[in-house]
């Protein structure tokens, strides 16, 4: 992990190499992200100061995360609310020795789950989230259609998670049962060339008052099945979303003009829980092996049984708690 002084000096030197003489300070490092380093910086070019957000890859995310994110921000600019990209460098030939990007901050707050919001805000913002998602799925994916390499996480791909989970064998029996079920019910590949966000959920949405002001964290963007995004949007990463998912699915159908196959959506919900279980196991693995001292990764041990209980409840057709 870099320190704030080094981050500020790195950006100052990089800008200087492009003929932009600037004073840069790094005020704080964001806490929440587990996959990338996020720094709040202030850049003074003499013509005025501006606040900005600088993102660097971590060992876990790899440089691909930054490259995908900068490409995605370019693709969606002006079509859905997202941070404006100020500067980026996709090569490791820079003071950070890794790809990085700098984007405009979006004022507002980022609740970690839908359950944090009061009921009125939750209903209103969930509808907006669906509208933004439907618009997002209608954007031409451009370079993201062909830009996915084999190393990056593919959020709608059962095989990707199955292969990664193989590293953590023996896996919990409930998780093994879920993989068995997913294989039995694997849907036909999605038609078309649809842009998906890959991590579209509360926790990656900037809320300001009663409006969604920005969608963050585009590092898993690519082409895939839009129902993977729809299922993931309200998956309880921490606590149940407490939204009327049936009504929101109907709204998505209306806004996108595409019918939602209910069985396919459930398949992606189960895959979503498998994904959460994978995150818990991989975080725990990283902590146990000494690759990270982040106690939040160790605490994911406690969320794994919760994910698997909700997974099994969903399969059984029971409400989740």
């Amino acid at each position: 992990m870099a320190d704030g002084t080094a981050v500020a000096a790195g950006l100052r030197d990089w800008l200087g190499g492009r003929g932009i003489a600037a004073q840069v300070s790094a005020s704080d490092r964001a806490t929440v992200g587990l996959s990338q380093e996020t720094w709040f910086v202030r850049v003074d070019t003499g013509a005025g100061e501006r606040d900005a957000v600088l993102r660097l890859p971590t060992l876990a995310s790899g440089p691909r995360a930054i490259r995908t994110q900068s490409a995605a921000l370019g693709v969606v600019a002006g079509s859905v609310p997202a941070p404006a990209l100020l500067w980026h460098d996709d090569s490791p030939e820079n003071p950070f020795q890794s790809p990085f990007l700098v984007m405009e901050p979006i004022p507002g707050r980022v609740p970690v789950s839908w359950g944090e919001l009061d009921e009125g805000d939750r209903t209103n913002l969930a509808r907006q989230a669906i509208d933004v998602l439907a618009a997002l799925h209608g954007i031409d994916p451009g370079p993201l259609a062909s830009g996915q390499d084999d190393r990056g996480e593919r959020p709608s791909d059962l095989d990707w998670y199955r292969q990664r989970l193989d590293r953590f064998r023996p896996i919990p029996a409930v998780l093994g049962g879920a993989l068995w079920w997913l294989e039995r019910h694997r849907p036909e590949p999605a038609d078309g060339n649809v842009l998906i966000h890959g991590d579209y959920r509360m926790g990656n949405l900037v809320i300001d008052g009663d409006r969604i002001r920005g969608v963050l964290d585009w590092e898993m963007a690519g082409v895939g099945d839009p129902l993977a995004d729809l299922a993931w949007c309200f998956i309880p990463v921490w606590q149940p979303s407490l939204v009327d998912e049936d009504a929101l699915v109907a709204r998505y159908e209306e806004r996108s003009g595409s019918a939602v196959d209910a069985d396919r959506l459930i398949w992606y919900r189960i895959l979503g829980y498998v994904r959460l279980a994978y995150y818990a196991l991989s975080g725990l693995h990283a902590f146990d092996r000494g690759r990270s001292d982040d106690l939040r990764l160790a605490a994911l041990r406690l969320q794994l049984p919760v994910h698997l209980d909700r997974l099994a409840a969903t399969l059984a057709g029971d409400p989740i708690i």
């Binding site: 409930v174 982040d294 099994a312």
Partner: protein, 109 residues
């Protein structure tokens, strides 16, 4: 006060009394509330959650093993409803032993 002599030798205890994990978790949670630095606060909340679950976060093998076997057996028999029913019961057993965690504190900051 009684005049009876105190019998402090009849019931020997451990070399040092154990500290309650729940008390440790509570103290760490209280400490986190006094910490201003967001990242440190989130780390302390995670530590508190781990401490509060040190003793209880694994269900007994007596409860788990038959359910794991039931999942394997149902898979071999291609009995999808049997797999789901056994998964449901095993997942409930594993979750029931967990102490609740305030994830908004652990993940926020």
């Amino acid at each position: 006060m009684s005049d009876e002599p105190l019998d402090l030798l009849g019931h020997p205890g451990p070399a040092s009394p154990p500290v309650s994990h729940d008390r440790l978790a509570g103290a760490v949670a209280e400490l986190s509330r006094r910490v201003g630095q967001p990242e440190l606060r989130a780390q302390l909340n995670a530590l508190g959650a781990l401490l509060s679950n040190l003793e209880s976060h694994v269900a007994s093998q007596e409860a788990r093993v038959p359910l794991e076997a039931a999942i394997s057996r149902a898979v071999e028999e291609d009995d999808e409803q049997g797999v789901i029913a056994a998964m449901r019961r095993l997942a409930a057993v594993d979750r029931a032993v967990l102490a609740a965690v305030d994830w908004s504190a652990v993940t926020g900051g």
